[in-house]
Structures are given as structure tokens and as C-alpha cells.
Amino acid sequence: MDYVIEMLNIRKEFPGIVANDNITVQLKKGEIHALLGENGAGKSTLMNVLFGLYQPEKGEIRVNGQKVNITDPNAANDLGIGMVHQHFMLVEPFTVTQNIILGNEPTKFGGVNIKKAEKEIQELSDRYGLRVDATAKISDISVGMQQRVEILKTLYRGADVLILDEPTAVLTPQEISELMEIMNSLIAEGKSIILITHKLKEIMQACDRVTVIRKGKGIGTLNIPDTTVTELASLMVGREVSFETKKAPAEPKETVLNIENLFVRDTRKVDTVKGLNLDVRAGEIVGLAGIDGNGQTELIEAITGLTKSHSGSIKLKDKNITNLSPRKVTESGLAHIPQDRHKYGLVLDFPIGENIVLQTYYQKPYSKNGVLNYKEIYEKAKALIEEYDVRTPDVYTPARALSGGNQQKAIISREIDRSPDLLIAAQPTRGLDVGAIEFIHNKLIEERDKGRAVLLMSFELDEILDVSDRIAVIFDGEIVANVKPEDTNEQELGLLMAGSNKEKAGAE
């Protein structure tokens, strides 16, 4: 047999849920093997088992034909298995080198020999074309480089088998193709790769074989040349899926959001939004496309009042809302589905019911003369939960106990229910499964059709292209292009997002 890794009939349970139910995956030497499945299908769990973070209840793992017992990540390392996690495992205040050697430090006289490590890492990086600065601090480098650091980390430990858990979710199209190249060079060096993703196109493009997982069960392994995107999709979801979001053409009306010459500084007092202009009109969805870190976060924070801008103006329906407090902005008719639902969207320890009135608790009928009326609050919550199909035992359950998709639905119900003039949705479908994504997209379109202005910020170009009526590309704190989705494609958008427009303009 020429399998480097075999995971046979793996079963892993969490309290109340079987995350992996009798799954088998076999990895051939020198192949890129995709692991495909919806959110929560059990992909990460399976790989964490392989990496020694979890112990399976049942099943067997073989490495090069030998049965092994992987008790912890060290054991996995020793067996030449390395993993790049879905959420990066990097210590922010540390340097690249410190992160890479952590747990495996070269020493001299009992101290860490950082110079030697830096040199080694730089060499390794150059060898695989990873373009990593070994001395940089993690908090100072881009997400793309952070990912390459993660890859470097596995290589440094001498991994022959690399597990990449959704590596592309945070990358731009250009970065994605770079990653593909890196993967190819790794294969050329004799490594084998397991790639987790739910992006079908990537699989078709880069992989040799694919194993599909649905609801914790292994559905089967296919050779890529023998299959199609449609087949994979229906295997993954268990039903036919339509890839196009159905919507009528937009009928934009009056301008609702008007931003002129806006400048915003981030916490380090660096301008991240630099003279930005943007309009969003009633009845249209404007997609804000851009690579993370080009000012979209600060832009949205400035609109919603979470950050102060230091010049320029923001108008909401002709009312100047520049530098108003979040409360005033909200009251002026703005709703905001925040990017980070755990940090901003919810008070996780509050019951769902109280989360539903997070912005309106002080208003009638939820409170009167400063005294809360719980009856009204929970009645409202019950109504919304019903309407938006939020799956929760009851409205008194803490938000923490809900699944990610249901948490997001609760937030959306709260925001939309206020009938805002402008709805800002930042990465509203991040980490959600196909069903939930469909639901949310339809809601956004529904709101548009009701005549509301919608600003959709997303790093997923598919989403931007599918849902938007107009796309504004943000680069380096400015809107560098306004394009119609039907007139463009991922490739062109990717280039715009990387600043091709601006550079061209500069060159002329």
C-alpha cells in the first residue's frame, strides 16, 4: 500500500453530538486530498483527531501502514504530521521565528538560540518560496503571511503530511493562487497534503482526490477527474443546490448613505480610511469588496459611530451623523450586523430575549421610566424567534448556547426588525452553512426590495458577486472602483482589490 495516512472508521463524540461517525480517509503519498463538507460536518474534528488534539472513541489510524496512537500534537509531529488550523494558532506579540520554534526551540547554553533559528527559518522560507520575514512580529504582518508562517511552522517541524484547514477562507484570489503554487512545490518536495475547504472550485482546480463528509458521516472518496462541481455539491449537502441567488433587478432610489472625503485613524493613529467617498441608495445592495486591512473595518466603525473620523462627512438621509455616538446613529435609522458576532453582536451570557432588545431596552414598551418590562421584552423575542426560525429551546436560554448560525439569525432578526433606512451587513455569513447562508442572502434581498439601502461587506467574492447590485472596491482606504457584478468577474475584482487601478492611475 502506498498510503501515508489512513484514518479508518473514526468515531468522535462530543456531549450530545456525534461529530465523526465511522469516517474513513486514506491519503496517498504525494497527493492533495480534499476534505469537503458543510459547516459543522466534522472536518476539523476529524483532522484534530489526526493531529492528536482529540482522542477518537473508535477507529484506527495508520501511518505508512503502521498502526499508531496519536496522543497529543507532539506525537503527531514525531510522525511527520503538521496542521495549519482554521483559526490561526499564532501568538500575536511574538515574532515569526518565536512562533515557529515554540515547543521545539534550538538551544545554546540553555538559552534559546534565536539567531540560528532565524537563519534556518529564512532559508526554509526561501526554499519553498514562502516570502516570510522571520524577524517580523505576528501582529504586524498580513493575514496571508500569517498563513504562510503556519505552513512554515509545520515544515520546520519536518512534516511530511500537511493538513490545511480552510486555508483559503481568509485569502484574496491572488493569494489563493499563490497558495496553490506553494502546495504544488510542497508536493514536488515529496509532501502530501490534506486540504479542507467547502469551496468546490478550488477542489476541482488543485486536488487529486476528495473525500466528502456530511453530518459527521463519510459519504465517499472520488477522483477529481471523475467528478463535477454539481455532483460534489449535492453529495455535500444531500440535495440539489442552486448556486445562483434569485433576485429581481434593483431599482435604486434616493441616496440614503452619503460619505464624502472621509478620513479615519486606527488605534495606532495611522490613517486607514483616506478621503473615501461612497453613496448607497435606497433599494440597492452595495457590495464592499476588498482585502482585509484596507480600511473596511474602520469605515464601518466610523459610519456606526464606534470610531471617530477626523475629517469628512457621513450623512444618513441628509442628516449629518458624522461622529455621533452609536446610540444616536442607531436612532437615526441605521442597523448593523457586525463582523464579529461574539465580540460585538451579542452579550453571550444574556438570554436570547435580552439580546433581542440590546439597542431598544430603554425605549417603550421595553421599559418605562427606566424600569424594564420583561413581559414585553420576552414577548417580542418570542415573536422574532418564531419569525426568523431561530432554533433555541426558549428565549431564556443564554445566547452562548446557540449554534453560530442561530446566533447570527437572532442578530439579523433584531437588526432588521427595527426597520432601518440603512442596513450594514459585515461578513454576515461567515462560518455559516449553506442553508443559513441562503436564508441570510434572501433576507438581505428582501430588505432591498422593501426599499432599504444595504451595504454588504464581505471577503467572499462569490457572495459579493451574487448578492450585490453594485460593487465598490476598497483599496488602501479609498474606493478605487465602482463596478456592476454582471460586468466583472473574480479575476478582475481580485486585481482591483490588489490596487491595480490605483497603481495604474499612479503610473499614468
Binding site: T304, P326, T330, Y344, G345, L346, D349, Y361, G370
Partner: protein, 348 residues
């Protein structure tokens, strides 16, 4: 699944029980009779009306400092400074109480309010520094404890007295002491302050659980970012929480100044009321009702302990050990919870 509410009641009860069992074991190890020991403790806390009155007297400031710490905790702040706020409140109450005479209906409320205000100021400082400059409230409140202690001593000595080490007694019109209550309890120092303390507990419950202000404070306590996102003024809430916390602690000080002692001594060390308040708050799960129960428990333990050396030969410090263990068990509630759940499973 056993509900969260049930756990919230069960865990403190189990903790107290385990604490007392551990205390009994310690007594056995050192050759004391635990039954005698605990009988003496009980006698000393509830044995007759006098000690009962004394227990109530001790419970009174405990409720208030417990509320002070709990209130800040609910807003995500750790007020180690209740101690200093108690001292400042005590000083303020005595200052008003000794400086002039006025009809009781004015004098007593005035003294209490000024004490509350003084505590509020002492809470405001760390609140402001935390809210505006991000300075850690723990360190500022620790520092302010010392400032309060030394300043109060100096004021007693140089302003409120002529180089004496205590002030005069407060005027009768500013005193919480009650001849009626004292008569009832054979001259214990039980005073009307217990009513104020219980009322304060009701106020805390009302603010936290029933008002929009409380909603904000709790929200800020759990998640500052989400609170800011949803339009709450986070710095304002931080300051408010520390101020209200300081008010409760300041009131605790007035209980001592206007009730128990009727004056203020130069202190060689802390009163420990504020530090004990941390324990009270934690055992009371930072709820108003829980704080009252925990204060009763700790008050009874502290007063009852005085009877242990004479009646059973057991050093009073045993009670401190028991209190420590109770807090420890409360802290380790996860493991208790785990045991209960396992126990239940096996039953099935």
C-alpha cells in the same frame, strides 16, 4: 439537565456544607471535639438575644460591603477598594455626626448621605481612571485603601480631635443606636442600620434586575464591545458602577460610625470589612439576595467564633479557615457541578 438556577442555589449550599465538614475534620485532627466546637459557635452567634443582636450588628456592614463588591463585579469590575471606601464613609459620617447638632430628622439622614457621597467619591476615582485612561481598577483601589486609612487617621488626630486617638461620640441626633433594640438584646450594639442594609439590598436588586440602568451595567460587565456597539456609554457605566459600589461601602462605614462605635478611632490597620465583603459577594454569587444570606453566614461565623476559645478551646481562626474553604469550594463550582451531573447519570 439540571437547570442553572438549581445549580446556583445548590453550589453555595454544598460549599458551605463542605467547608463545615472540613472545619470538623481540622478540629478532630487537632484533638478538639467538633460537636462542642460547633455548638459553641452556634451558641456564640444565636445562643441568646445578646449574641443575636451582636450577630445582626456584624451582619449589617457585611451586607453593605458585600453589595459594594458584588455591584462592581456585576459590571465587570473588581473593587478591592471597598475597604478604603468604608473608612472614608465612616470618617464622613462621624465628621457630620460630631460637628454640630440638629434635629434627628435632618442630622441622621445627612450624616448617612454624606458618608455615601464620600464612599462614592472614593469609588469615582478608580472608576474615572479606568474608564478614561484604562488604568487597572485593582491597583488604584489597593492604593486608595492606604490613602483612606492614613488620611482618616490624620484627620481624626488633627481635625476632629486635639491629638487624641479617637473622635468624640456622634451627637444623639446622628446616632443609629437604639435604646429599644439594645434593651431588647441586653445591650448588644444592634442598631437600626440593619434596616438600611436590607433596604440597600433591595435597591441593588431593583437597579440590577429591573431597570434599564442595570441592564446596561450588566451588559457592560459581560461584554464591553457589544455594549458599545448597541449604543451604551461604556465609560459612563464603568464610573457609575464604581460610584454606586462606593456608595454601598460608604454606607457600611456609616454603620460603624453612627451605629456600632459611634465614633472613629485612629486605626493601626484595616477594618477588614471591605476585604471580607469580597468573600461575602463571592459566596452570594454577586446577587443582592445571595449577599444578604452570605453576610448572615459570615456575620454569624465571626461573632460565634468569639465564643469558641472559651467554650470549646478552639482558636477563633478556625472560622477563617472555614470561610476560606467555603470560598474555595464556591470557586471550584465546576468540579462540584461535574460531580453532581455524574452522580445523576449513575442514578439513572
Amino acid at each position: 439537565m439540571t437547570s442553572n438556577k438549581a445549580f446556583n442555589i445548590l453550589i453555595p449550599l454544598i460549599s458551605v456544607f463542605l467547608g463545615l465538614v472540613a472545619g470538623a475534620i481540622i478540629m478532630l485532627i487537632f484533638g478538639y471535639n467538633p460537636i462542642h466546637g460547633y455548638a459553641a459557635l452556634w451558641e456564640g452567634a444565636f445562643g441568646d438575644l445578646y449574641v443575636f443582636g451582636e450577630t445582626v450588628r456584624q451582619v449589617t456592614p457585611y451586607i453593605l460591603t458585600g453589595l459594594a463588591v458584588a455591584f462592581a463585579f456585576r459590571a465587570g469590575l473588581f473593587n478591592i477598594g471597598a475597604e478604603g471606601q468604608v473608612i472614608i464613609g465612616w470618617l464622613a459620617a462621624v465628621w457630620i455626626g460630631t460637628s454640630f447638632e440638629a434635629p434627628m430628622i435632618i442630622h441622621l439622614p445627612l450624616a448617612i448621605i454624606v458618608a455615601a457621597l464620600a464612599g462614592a467619591i472614593w469609588g469615582f476615582i478608580p472608576g474615572l481612571l479606568k474608564a478614561r485612561l484604562g488604568v487597572h481598577e485593582v491597583i488604584v483601589t489597593i492604593m486608595l485603601n492606604y490613602v483612606a486609612l492614613y488620611s482618616a487617621n490624620s484627620i481624626v488626630r488633627n481635625v476632629l480631635s486635639d491629638n487624641e486617638d479617637k473622635t468624640e461620640k456622634v451627637a444623639a441626633s446622628a446616632s443609629l443606636a437604639s435604646e429599644w433594640l439594645q434593651g431588647l438584646t441586653y445591650f448588644s450594639r444592634m442598631h437600626y442600620g440593619i434596616l438600611i442594609a436590607l433596604f440597600a439590598a433591595v435597591i441593588m436588586w431593583f437597579i440590577i434586575e429591573r431597570t434599564a440602568v442595570g441592564f446596561e451595567l450588566r451588559s457592560v460587565g459581560f461584554n464591553k464591545h457589544a455594549s458599545k456597539y448597541s449604543g451604551m456609554n461604556v465609560p459612563k457605566n464603568i464610573i457609575l458602577a464604581m460610584v454606586i459600589s462606593g456608595i454601598f461601602a460608604g454606607l457600611a462605614g456609616s454603620m460603624e460610625g453612627l451605629g456600632t462605635f459611634g465614633n472613629l478611632n485612629v486605626k493601626s490597620g484595616f477594618t477588614n470589612l471591605g476585604f471580607d465583603g469580597i468573600a461575602v459577594a463571592l459566596l452570594g454569587a454577586n446577587t443582592a439576595f445571595g449577599v444578604v444570606l452570605a453576610a448572615i453566614l459570615f456575620g454569624a461565623l465571626k461573632v460565634g467564633a468569639l465564643n469558641m476559645p472559651t467554650e470549646a478551646g478552639v482558636p477563633t481562626e478556625l472560622v477563617d479557615i472555614i470561610i476560606a474553604l467555603i470560598i474555595f469550594f464556591v470557586a471550584s463550582s465546576y468540579i462540584i457541578r461535574w460531580f453532581i451531573l455524574r452522580f445523576k447519570k449513575e442514578e439513572k
